[in-house]
Amino acid sequence: MKHIDIVAYKCKACGKIHFPFHDRCLVCKKREFEKIAPQGNAKLITFSQVFNLPWGFDQRFIFIGVAEFENGVKAMGQIKAESVDELKLGMTLKPTWDVVRVISGENIYGLKFEP
């Protein structure tokens, strides 16, 4: 499996975890962060089966969701599913790193969660 190539940022002053990057902490406004990687599996916070996709997708639909990793990193990703019946809020997902989109002929990698 490919490495999950996401970097989150933990504020050195107050511990707030940020993803994506901010130049100042969302809580205490300090500017020093420790880089951390998302750890373990992820809990599904919310999701949608999205039809009417934007330019660049050759599929009828995709599943999109937001999930929280075991170390508190929250991130959006695609979900490998065929039906909403396979998904439930709060369920555990396994993160993988795969092609999520092709832009100008270039493969774009990102999070793909597996139920």
Partner: protein
């Protein structure tokens, strides 16, 4: 700071306007507002043009400079304002500040968007470009997708039902059918989008749990207003509409970084600021235009503005409290759901519709009786930049 009034308002019908380019639409709406104010061949000091995507959609930039030339308004100051789907309200804010500060006496604000120049999937991609480029956009999330995820959480937390969303859609299309400026002028029935065997074809899923009739159309359109100091307003023919309150607030770019993704903090803050400035309570508002790009947003915003407690907005829709003649008529224009959503125009169109309501000049079937105070919410991104105005009927 000087009190500011709206003395002219104009719009063009929203929809698919194949015969007009962006500049045509901006010019027609501007001329309608100038004529409404009775300005004839007079000029203005400044022009603010709200537009989100002329560069991407129409291959045209510097639209404000182009518009003053088209309307022969030189040497008026001219600026284009881009703030996503809240561009319209942001442009009015700039006009408000210019007049209130004393820098300008007469300002034209016009918002417009020409979205039907491109295919549906290009337009969807254009709107999705508002999302975070590396944390959201790359995954193919659309704005309906963001709304679908929000709806699922809102249903889970507050018990909003599919039926309540359906009632918003039916109400707003009912009102849109009466509005000659609306993109969608057809009524829908419960049977047609929920009950019948063909409802699954009529109303397919767009971004589960949202379906087609939960989502606003992609529209062309433009709307405009003329602003001046309140003490100059008596020089104009129409009843002045005072900008009694204004508020604006922002929130995190990504939904995932909000402590509670169902909490539309920027809507609460912006509307509170506007109401406090106007020295009014939510219960003092006669009519509201809320940013119902998705049916869930009308319900959620009605709660965040304070018209109803959290969890009660959906029930209020079912009880008819948001209909014309109800406790607080919301989106009597048909809202974004039926009037349409040419993104740069919407914030201005909301204000134009409230101006018409407060002047009491709409046909009876669309007029809120004795309307005195109106409120707008213009929702940028997915709630990360929100503006609200409170307008009050002035004295002639």
């Amino acid at each position: 700071m000087r009190p500011v009034a709206i003395v002219g308002a104009g719009m063009i019908p929203f929809g698919r306007r194949d015969d007009d380019n962006l500049m045509d639409m901006l010019a027609y709406a501007s001329l309608n507002a100038l004529d409404d104010a009775g300005l004839g061949d007079k000029g203005v000091n400044a022009v603010y043009v709200a537009n989100m995507g002329a560069g991407m959609l129409n291959h045209q930039m510097s639209v404000a400079s182009a518009l003053v030339d088209r309307l022969s308004l030189m040497p008026a100051a001219a600026d284009a304002i881009e703030n996503g789907p809240a561009s319209g309200a942001s442009a009015i804010k700039n006009g408000l500040f210019a007049v209130a500060s004393g820098y300008c006496d007469l300002v034209l604000v016009v918002g417009g968007e020409k979205m039907r120049d491109v295919s549906g999937w290009r337009a969807t991609d254009f709107v999705a470009s508002m999302t975070h480029p590396t944390a959201e956009y790359i995954y193919g999330v659309t704005l309906p997708g963001m709304a679908g995820m929000f709806t699922r959480l809102y249903m889970e937390k507050y018990g909003v039902t599919r039926e309540q969303l359906v009632q918003v859609a039916i109400k707003n299309q009912e009102m849109g059918a009466l509005n000659p400026y609306a993109h969608v002028e057809s009524r829908i029935t419960h049977e047609g989008i929920v009950d019948s065997w063909h409802s699954r074809v009529n109303n397919p899923p767009t971004a589960d749990p949202l379906r087609l009739y939960d989502v606003c159309p992609v529209s062309d359109g433009a709307a405009a207003v003329i602003l001046c100091p309140l003490d100059m307003a008596k020089q104009f023919e129409k009843i002045p509409i005072v900008i009694a309150g204004f508020g604006q607030a922002t929130d995190t770019h990504t939904l995932q970084e909000r402590d509670d993704p169902t909490d539309l903090k920027a809507v609460t803050l912006a509307s509170q600021q506007a109401l406090e400035m106007a020295k009014l309570k939510p219960s003092d508002i006669s009519v509201a235009e809320l940013h119902d790009a998705f049916t869930i947003l009308e319900i959620a915003e009605s709660e965040h503005v304070g018209f109803f407690p959290k969890g009660e907005g959906g029930k209020a829709v079912e009880a008819g409290k948001t209909k014309l003649g109800g406790q607080i008529p919301i989106n009597v224009s048909g809202g974004l759901k039926a009037r349409g959503h040419p993104v740069g125009a919407t914030g201005v169109a909301q204000v134009v519709d409230i101006v018409w309501q407060l002047r009491h000049e709409l046909p009876q079937e669309r007029q809120v009786q004795n309307a005195v105070n109106g409120l707008t919410v213009n929702f940028g991104g997915f709630g990360n930049n929100v503006l609200s105005f409170v307008l009050r009927r002035g004295e002639q």
